[in-house]
Amino acid sequence: MEYVIEMLGIRKEFGSFVANDNITLQLKKGEIHALLGENGAGKSTLMNVLFGLYQPEAGEIKVKGKTVKITDPNVANDLGIGMVHQHFMLVENFTVTENIILGNELTKSGVIDIKDAAKKIQSLSEMYGLAVDPYAKIEDISVGMQQRVEILKTLYRGAEILIFDEPTASLTPQEIIELIQIMKRLIQEGKSIIIITHKLKEIMDVSDRVTVIRKGEGIGTVITAETNPNELASLMVGRQVDFTTVKVDANPTDDALVIKNLVVTDYRGVERVKDLSLTVRKGEILGIAGIDGNGQSELIEAITGLRKSKSGSISINGKDITNKKPRKVTESGIGHIPQDRHKHGLVLDFPIGHNIALQTYYENPISKNGIMNYGKVSELAQKIIREYDVRTQGEYTPARALSGGNQQKAIIGREIERNPELLIAALPTRGLDVGAIEFIHQRLIEQRDKGKAVLLLSFELDEVMNVSDRIAVIHDGHIVDTVLPKETTEQELGLLMAGQSTKETVTKQGDTKHAE
């Protein structure tokens, strides 16, 4: 069997920490090979070794049967290895062509030959069905399109082997489907692909074989067709994992969050939430399902006080919080796990302990008369770190140094510890691995079982179906319908999310009581 890439017995250490130990990965020509592991298992480290960013302490790398030493990314490029990064390396206000030729500019007597490059990019784009406009500016195109630019960049540089690092993390479901088609097309044209992911569904959909690593160790390689998600999950985590979140039926009581005829505009003054009404009751999890960009973010920002609403009202347990400042909203009993944990959730340069105190720093006992009691900050931090299984060296470690899952656990700990009446969880499991997702879902259900209200915003249908007690489907700023997870299907939800009402009698907009 011909392998285009063989990584044999790779070991990589950082000081005393072993990030990779005895990992073997063999990539066949023309296959899609998935690299599966939890966050922090060492997937990225392994790929950075292959891409020449790190030098391994032991093991060898063969490209097409020949032992090579990849000392830096240029060597990797020359060997035909290209990387599509998770966080795109693109200059926002450059065009597609300018980005692709960056660092590799074709010149004619000292002048960059954009036209020639654009032509080449156009033909590559057509060949692989990427439909990228070489003259579009990066800031004007969608995230999915930007990713294709990254793919084109590697192809333009003659890559034969493409590494995709968590490629679906920021894509919409539709974009994911398109990406999978693109990957299959690439294979047909003779390329080979390694895809780094912890999403089992994608692996089952797209890959030929899977190599699993756990805590830095190579667990083995399996053929996708001969395995199933459950087996993969237990290989990855090292124990049995529950997919269907176990929970008893909800016992909803009084209304907690009541939103009436809410209108919210974005920064350009365009209405993003249009006359929306919604109720979340104590003791239930209300899931909001919808495609990204249908007003979800604006809705949450309006509830939490980060954005002013134009009209309508929001109240929590009978108290009006419409257009109140974030502090007032927080103090009214709302906990908020923000959509973007790096932007809103954490001060990345602060120690994780300070971040855990971010919502309570001004209150007794964390501070008294304006003087901080950092001893109490540490106490609180240690408690959250322990109870929420935040893996960190200690409370003084900068939040930036933690993995995404552990950052998220710290935020969830911080918000739940304040015992809020309503917990808003916006994309709480985005980019997290199976173990962390399970943990977070359990915490949300725990809140519900304590009689608190939970508002869950998610783009993942699985999550909405599994965790919610009721599902409100949002489309174009309206709640199109409210359904019960047991009585609906993914197909029905998909149609609703696309703005089609399934019932002949059109549901009165925003009336949420209705579905019971």
Partner: protein, 348 residues
């Protein structure tokens, strides 16, 4: 090599490298570096008088350095320390001249007047930044010019058209008879205690108070601070005002300590601008500012002795001093090499 050793080695090596390159410049220009550096040394530590004057020179640098560093910690670039210092200088001198009060009221009043003047001067760019997103760098630079010429006009008014006001009343003076006797009549004054107290104040605000927690949070991440219910605009303005108050105090040091009067100025004092370098040398920490101000003040004052004692022209002296500071500022290059050679050793 442990991190602590590196942290100490870096500035030491930087200063040595700066001195070496400075020596090369002197040799190339045909002067004796040994004579030059011994003149520099004597200019700083030569006798009790020069030591007194050196500390006197360090005093305003401490405060201008704190001013820049404090704003930096909240993510603001206060280039306006120079202007805030000038208005502080004038305010302190005016209060020192115009009032007849017992010392325990007069002196604190003059000092507070300087802090308030500096704080108000910095309030304007803070407000514009918070409310209208006008970049503070542009506003503070322009405010420097406004400060320079406004204080000049005001000084002339107070001085009845002359270039220099009268001397401030003794009840508002920081002059120290004790220090004079100790340092052979240098101009060293009690202001150094105020400056050192402010070092403590900055540390205390940032590290011990909820205000400091907010200021730092806003400096690192405005969005997360807003999410956590902090008033981002209030913190931006507050940070500028505190920074400006430090700068105003630097002016008070000159008005009430060193000079005892205000005078019409043809240009900036440079103390405010040097404060930027002092803050950066000190990595924007209070203790670092003490280090940076000491280096700056000592070199500034000590180098005055080089033309006299070693016959080196002022221009060459400026180059040598700049080189030393340059190498200290480039400490990260030295750090890089230290860490790299270290790694190689470990690998073997």
């Amino acid at each position: 090599m442990p991190n602590r050793v590196v942290n100490i080695l870096v500035p030491v090596i930087s200063v040595i490298l700066g001195l070496l390159v400075g020596a090369v410049v002197m040799v190339v220009s045909g002067y004796d570096p040994v004579a030059g550096y011994s003149a520099l040394w004597n200019g700083i530590f030569g006798d009790s008088y020069t030591i007194g004057e050196t500390i006197r020179q360090i005093t305003p640098y401490l405060l201008s350095g704190l001013a820049v560093a404090f704003a930096f910690r909240t993510g603001l670039f206060n280039i306006g320390v120079e202007g805030q210092l000038l208005v502080g200088w004038f305010a302190a001198a005016y209060v020192g001249i115009a009032f007849d009060l017992p010392m325990y009221i007069h002196l604190p009043l003059a000092i507070i007047a300087a802090a308030v003047a500096g704080g108000l001067w910095a309030f304007i760019p803070g407000l514009l930044k918070a409310k209208l997103q006008v970049h503070e760098v542009i506003v503070t630079i322009m405010m420097n010019y406004i400060a320079l010429h406004t204080t000049n006009v005001l000084t002339r008014m107070v001085a009845d058209g002359k270039e220099t006001t009268g001397t401030i009343k003794e009840t508002a003076s920081l002059k120290s008879v004790f220090f004079e006797s100790l340092t052979d009549y240098s101009r060293l004054h009690y202001g150094i205690f105020i400056a050192l107290a402010m070092v403590f104040v900055m540390w205390f605000i940032l590290e011990k108070t909820t205000t400091g927690f907010e200021l730092k949070a806003v400096g690192f991440n405005k969005n997360a601070s807003e999410y956590a219910g902090m008033n981002v605009n209030k913190n931006i303005i507050l940070s500028m005002v505190i920074s400006g108050a430090f700068a105003g105090l630097a002016g008070a040091m000159e008005a009430l300590g060193t000079f005892q009067y205000a005078s019409v100025k043809g240009g900036f004092t440079g103390i405010g601008f040097d404060g930027i370098a002092v803050a950066l040398l000190g990595a924007n920490t209070p203790l670092g500012v003490v280090f940076g101000a000491t280096l700056f003040g000592a070199l500034k004052f000590g180098s005055l002795n080089m033309p006299n004692a070693a016959g080196i022209p002022v221009e060459i002296v400026s180059i040598v001093i700049a080189l030393i500071i340059f190498f200290v500022a480039c400490g990260y290059i030295i750090r890089y090499f230290l860490v790299k050679t270290n790694k190689k050793k470990e690998a073997k």
